[in-house]
Symmetry: C2
Subunit: 347 residues, 2 copies
């Protein structure tokens, strides 16, 4: 009788830069509006209400794992959950995004960002993670928002194209800005520790809009708080992924915050990303989600171009360069997972 | 009596990578809403109507030259002027941007993009340029829209965050896409030739949103049409500037279209841009326009950081990394021009 081989999970192995039997795949926003089963389950209620129901949030997290056969699940939640949970007053408006009642303006607003006590403030997150860890055969990724992106929502009061109020605060009252992003980092650490202790096996920090900054500004105004997040969970020893859109100029700095894995959008080819972030153990990305709206021949060709752009086959997690678009045909994503597995299988 | 030295104009010399007495400065969107004299002159009428009045358009072009002491003027016009002039049906809605009656969808829409005859379709542009060349003591920059940006406006029907319809056309009906961008290139060439022949001494191609593309997609879907524009005016021998936002990954390709000068936004430090685009004779940029809303100490420090980031003092035109923001204090821009001139003067 052959002795069964203990095979490390491909997603976790890839995060650590170890050999894998095939390239693991997951998709940012894989749980969401592209799935008919999501739309029928969610209905028209508030997304924050859905996140507060462990049974519902767990089911939504599981849907794309069943449908697509991805190699990791990501908790169905939102980056504004911790700030909402401490009472900052933020909602997610359909078709708009996070909307804040009273935007962050002065030092008095810091008091609206008290420390997060997960057991009291977000017990439903802990419960959802516990349910999922029992159900899942693939790792669960927990997550939190990055300092610049969360600060931008709080300062602008809504999604912004150019982040002018945010940059204005940053340049004009730098001590207040640094205090704000430190608070946001502490909220992220508390939430991430809770998710990991409940069973999440990896985490991703979404600093989606940090790419609006020059390297010098990122280094001065954001990197200290980002580093605070990564250091605050280092002892828990799970792979930490750092992601933003249009961050070619920041890949090295974002890795230096403490990330094992750096997320790359479609703008930077993976071989170039590897040069820009030599210290990352792994790269995650980077098919343009808009490609997934095209005919299969285009999707297939572009996905294979992503695979060819890798300098090595180890240390790569296939993903899109940003979230799944709501108009994506789920069948395309199923075929995409099959394609990546088949093209990269070493068995 | 000393023999007067013939000094090349600093802006044109910098474009050619030649020595300059000081670093020349101009600002994208220097003519516009930041200036009270612009707001009082323009009132609330349509911007396309204002562009059609040579006396008014010339005066608006001159306002920032008088106020700021910049080293170049840029024609007051808009990148949609040629497509509007051949009857495509586009307006510029205040606070929104270009809005199209019937977006570009099928090959039948190509017929709505007939060739531009400047003498018949845009005689007011020619006339404005002629007035300006008589009035100005600094060079006049003419301009046109780049293929991806103009195509995006025509296909989406309005400004777009993710250019999904545009990319969908590009991937799904590539021959139609390539025909569209070729038509747009021909319109740009006709308009640019007219502006240059009337007296414009340099031109800029604004492909502002091309940064939404990966290098491979830019090379396949946009570069041929961009090259068509640059080649179509090569014989007129004026410096050609190529600009887009968030184009760090495209600087080499955008230079290869035929540009002498490559525009760089604030995301890529100039020394890095120089490595990315070694064949450009000059770099143009790259202060974040959001910085100009901050107190003067911040503006001054960041502007000096831009100067320090240059690998050499030749081949640099100081500019913002994108257009002047409407809420900018004009006094800040005046001081900024003085600062750059004083810091870089070799006399």
């Amino acid at each position: 009788m052959p002795i069964p081989t203990v095979v490390a999970n491909p997603f976790l192995a890839a995060c650590r830069g170890e050999p894998v039997p095939y390239t693991p795949v997951w998709f940012m926003r894989q749980a969401g509006r592209a799935l008919p089963e999501y739309r029928s389950l969610r209905g028209t209620g508030s997304i924050l209400d859905a996140i507060r129901r462990p049974d519902l949030a767990a089911e939504i997290t599981l849907q794309p794992v069943r449908r697509y056969g991805v190699d990791a699940a990501i908790l169905f939640s939102d980056i504004v959950v911790p700030v909402a949970a401490v009472g900052f007053g933020v909602e997610i408006r359909a078709g708009v995004g996070p909307v804040v009642d009273r935007p962050f303006e002065t030092s008095a607003d810091l008091q609206r960002l008290r420390p997060l006590e997960p057991a009291l403030d977000t017990p439903w997150i802990t419960e959802t993670v516990r349910i999922l860890v029992k159900e899942l055969r693939v790792p669960l990724i927990g997550f939190a928002g990055g300092p610049f992106t969360l600060a931008s929502y709080l300062v602008e009061g809504r999604p912004s194209r150019d982040h002018l109020k945010t940059k204005s605060l940053m340049y004009t009252d730098t001590p207040l800005w640094l205090a704000l992003v430190d608070r946001l980092a502490d909220l992220a650490v508390a939430s991430l520790r809770d998710q990991i202790e409940a069973g999440a096996q990896a985490v991703q920090i979404f600093d989606s809009w940090a790419g609006a900054l020059s390297p010098a500004d990122y280094q001065r105004y954001v990197l200290p708080a980002a580093t605070r997040i990564f250091e605050g969970i280092a002892d828990l020893e799970v792979p930490r992924i750092h992601f933003g859109v249009g961050t070619g100029q920041l890949l090295s700095l974002m890795t230096s915050a403490g990330a094992e894995v750096i997320g790359v959008d479609w703008r930077v080819p993976l071989d170039h990303a590897r040069q820009l972030a030599p210290k990352a153990r792994a790269l995650q990305g980077n098919l343009d989600p808009a490609v997934c709206l095209a005919p299969w021949e285009v999707v297939s060709a572009q996905a294979q171009a992503v695979l060819r752009s890798r300098p090595t086959t180890v240390g790569h997690i296939f993903n899109l360069g940003h979230g799944v678009l709501p108009t994506t045909d789920p069948g395309t994503l199923t075929r995409l997972v099959e394609l990546i597995h088949a093209e990269t299988s070493t068995r």
